[in-house]
């Protein structure tokens, strides 16, 4: 029962955060000097009178508060509005970019977390041995390299020098399959995915790995493990037992990681020319395309916030002490 109360409280708090986020972003974007018509002014293509007409047409001449109200009203009825830059519905603009981002992100997350768990367990089990110290250092190196630098190095080597992979984009604008294997479904997208995914995994693998390792070290010394060892369980069963208990922190961190992955892809998208949400967010700010920028930022933020909520609820469910928060 008290869990339900806790869950309800948390959900309400999350909703409040989301509303705050919405208003915050809305106001922030409109504080930036200029509006969607400004860049067109810079080249002398738009007369002042035409610009004012455009602004009136797009509702930009109303007060900030009126614009906010109109936006909220539309939002409640599910209307995200028209992009100022493309003059198309925001969903139409964001949709394909979102899909592209997911195509990039999913393999990175799966591989990073998967490899992190496997290697983290391996390292954690060998705590105190020389190989563990070396392994921990080796793992930290790709984490320390700037993501864009790793990307450029991988590109220079595998795409430019060895020419094993394309140098960017999500698919060839002009793809003509030549060898037999190039006709396999999604071959084009897959070959474009290899390098960015490799870069992303190298950068993000270290965190789940270290968490898994730390967690395993702590679990190994717990009473139930000592007991199991005393009972003579094989190493493999011991490992399996430990891993299961040590998994929770990694999983909860993974939820946080997913959220961060959404916001942190801009560098990958720039280096690999990937048409995803990161670039969309940056471009929409430069173009002052408020509806798209707001929707994109809000989408990314709500993913993180909702995931945090799920993690909180999970912890609350597992650990009754937390529910009194």
């Amino acid at each position: 029962m008290e869990f339900l109360g806790f869950a309800a409280r948390r959900t309400v708090h999350t909703a409040v955060t989301l509303v705050l986020l919405l208003v915050f972003m809305f106001v922030l974007f409109r504080l930036i000097p200029g509006d969607p018509t400004t860049l067109l002014l810079g080249t002398g293509e738009l007369t002042l009178e035409a610009q004012q007409r455009l602004r009136a047409q797009w509702g930009l001449d109303q007060s900030l508060f009126e614009q906010l109200l109109a936006y909220c009203r539309n939002l409640i009825s599910g209307e995200l509005g028209l992009s100022f830059y493309y003059r198309r519905p925001v969903t139409e603009v964001i949709g394909p970019m979102l899909i592209n981002t997911v195509i990039l992100m999913l393999p990175i997350l799966v591989l990073a977390i998967g490899l992190g768990i496997v290697i983290g367990t391996w390292l954690g089990w060998r705590r105190g041995e020389r190989v563990e110290e070396l392994g921990a250092v080796l793992v930290l190196i790709p984490r320390a390299l700037p993501v864009f630098w790793t990307g450029i190095v991988l590109l220079s080597l595998f795409a430019y020098k060895l020419q094993w992979f394309p140098i960017g984009g999500i698919r060839e604008a002009f793809f003509y399959p030549e060898a037999w294997y190039q006709n396999l479904p999604y071959y084009d997208v897959l070959q474009h995915l290899v390098l960015p995914v490799a870069t992303g995994v190298l950068a993000s693998m270290a965190d789940p790995l270290m968490i898994m390792r730390t967690s395993l070290i702590e679990v190994r010394d717990e009473e139930f493990m000592v007991l199991a060892r005393a009972r003579g369980l094989s190493t493999r069963s011991l490992q399996r037992l430990a891993r299961r208990s040590a998994l929770l922190p990694v999983l909860t961190y993974s939820a946080v990681m997913v959220g961060f992955a959404f916001g942190g892809q801009v560098l990958l998208e720039v280096v690999f020319t990937w048409p995803g949400m990161g670039r969309l967010m940056v471009n929409s700010v430069t173009q002052r395309d408020y509806p798209v920028a707001q929707a994109a930022f809000f989408l990314m933020a709500s993913v993180v916030v909702v995931l945090n909520l799920i993690v909180d609820l999970l912890y609350g469910w597992l650990d009754p002490r937390i529910r009194h928060d």
Partner: protein
Amino acid sequence: MTKSSGNDAIVDPNTYADPDPKRAASRRDVLGFLAAFGVVTPTASLISAIDAGIATAEAQTAAGQPVPRLSVYTPNWPDMIELWRQLARDWAPLGVDLDVQQGTLDTFVSNIVAEQKLPHLGSMSWGGAPDRLDPDYFISEMFHSRRAIKGGLNFGLYKSDEFDKAADSQRQAMDPAERQKLVRLAQELVVADSPSLILYHRDIIHAYNKKRFKGMKPILGNGIGFPYMPLAYMDIEALQPRKVLRLTSIYDIASLNPFQTPEIYNSTTLRLIYATFVTRDEKAEVMPWALASWNVVDNTTVDIVLRPNTKFHDGKPATVEDVKFTFDFILKHKFPAMGRVTDALESASITGDNTVRLKLKQPSAPFVANVLGYAFLAPKHIWETIPANLATPADWPNDKPVGSGPWKFVEWRKGEHIQFAANKDFYRPAKLDGFIAAVVPQMESMVGMLERGDSDMLAWNLDMTLGARISQNPDLEVVRTPTHGQHEVRLNLSMAPCNNKAFRHALQHATDRKKILDIIFSGAGVVSHGAPITPALEAWAVPSLKGYEPNIDKARAVLKDGGFTWNAQGKLMLPS
């Protein structure tokens, strides 16, 4: 050298007199930091900083005072930053100090053009867009007092009655010879008054794969690859079986609706599909395109003749009905993107099987080049049946654009590429089967794709050093084309010492344009003679101009003649 000096004005008006610039700079940093933390609200911070800078500068203009630190605002591009480093060095011997502040392009435009808040100096570069070939743009748009308003490009606030008269006259001079005289006069006035330091006209450098394609046509301001001039792609031929050209570009279009946006790349790309009435040839002369011919009847009347046997991409024939419909449509809806049509045109009426008579609102010399070169032939049977629930037809997606131009629309993948097929029914069909423009926002990737053979043409402005490296590849050819675009430094004529003509002339003489062009653009370009129209446009350029040889002594002499002096530390002092 971070935030503008304006914040000092709020705290310590004696900062300009601080003999230790390093200490003043770090104090500025701290104040800027505090300001960034919300001591001043974000919206106002930049503007108020510039404002305060301007106010302080004005306060410092008492006669005999040292010239204040000149505040500069520039876009944050690497070449602009390097430009100001060079200018700071060039002008230092004059006893002038600079305080450079930079902003991203969008913020720069909104502060400088929209808000007209230029500090002492600002730098800008102008590309070779087609309507700028007509001299009216670089004369009226940039220097006429009428454009010294919010949204106008005369943000240096140059106001000269004599110049205004010359500018207005050339606009209405329908006789080419007379117009040429007036255009040259206007330029001579600009050179005499020096409201802007025109630096150079940087060459356009494109590259292509010469083993696979030939027939590239370099056009002034367009190079071989920009879509500004439809003629550029018309004679390209394939030297291998694939007759579809693959080119790379940094930009993507935003819309397929030609009435929607005036943005240069978007509108010119769409005018590959929708034929404009006239266009420009290799010599930048106006030539008929959708029209067969035109005739300027009198000051305010132009008769146009549609090219016979014109067909739209869906097979339907194009008639004068479509011509009249297009103009009426634009006049009726007053699309902001088509402002120049609505400003110039009064009415369009059918006068024969193939002829339409256009009445202008006032005499306009650039009408044929800029209005008929921008308006296009739109199919009436499509545009009169669009959904009525839109706020304006400019919002209609137009997912399958149908025009009468040399290229048919095939596909547009947002953010990735746009594909065209040749229209074999066009009066002068392209030799290719089609072409694809891929969106590649990184120069690095563009060059890589060209070198690897993934693309056939690099249709964006390369740098000469990169170009030199590319030319070493036997398959690739680099093409250099002059442009009518320009790089300039604009002075704010309402602020001292920029309001002093001797000061402006001194800066002209102190600036080493050639050296700057060499450093920043590897020397690929034409050094300006001081007038806004490039010598490459022989019809309009002033042939007698000598330009400025960089000469510090001459600059100092000019200053001395203007009453300027120098104090013991070598700082420039205003005339008393």
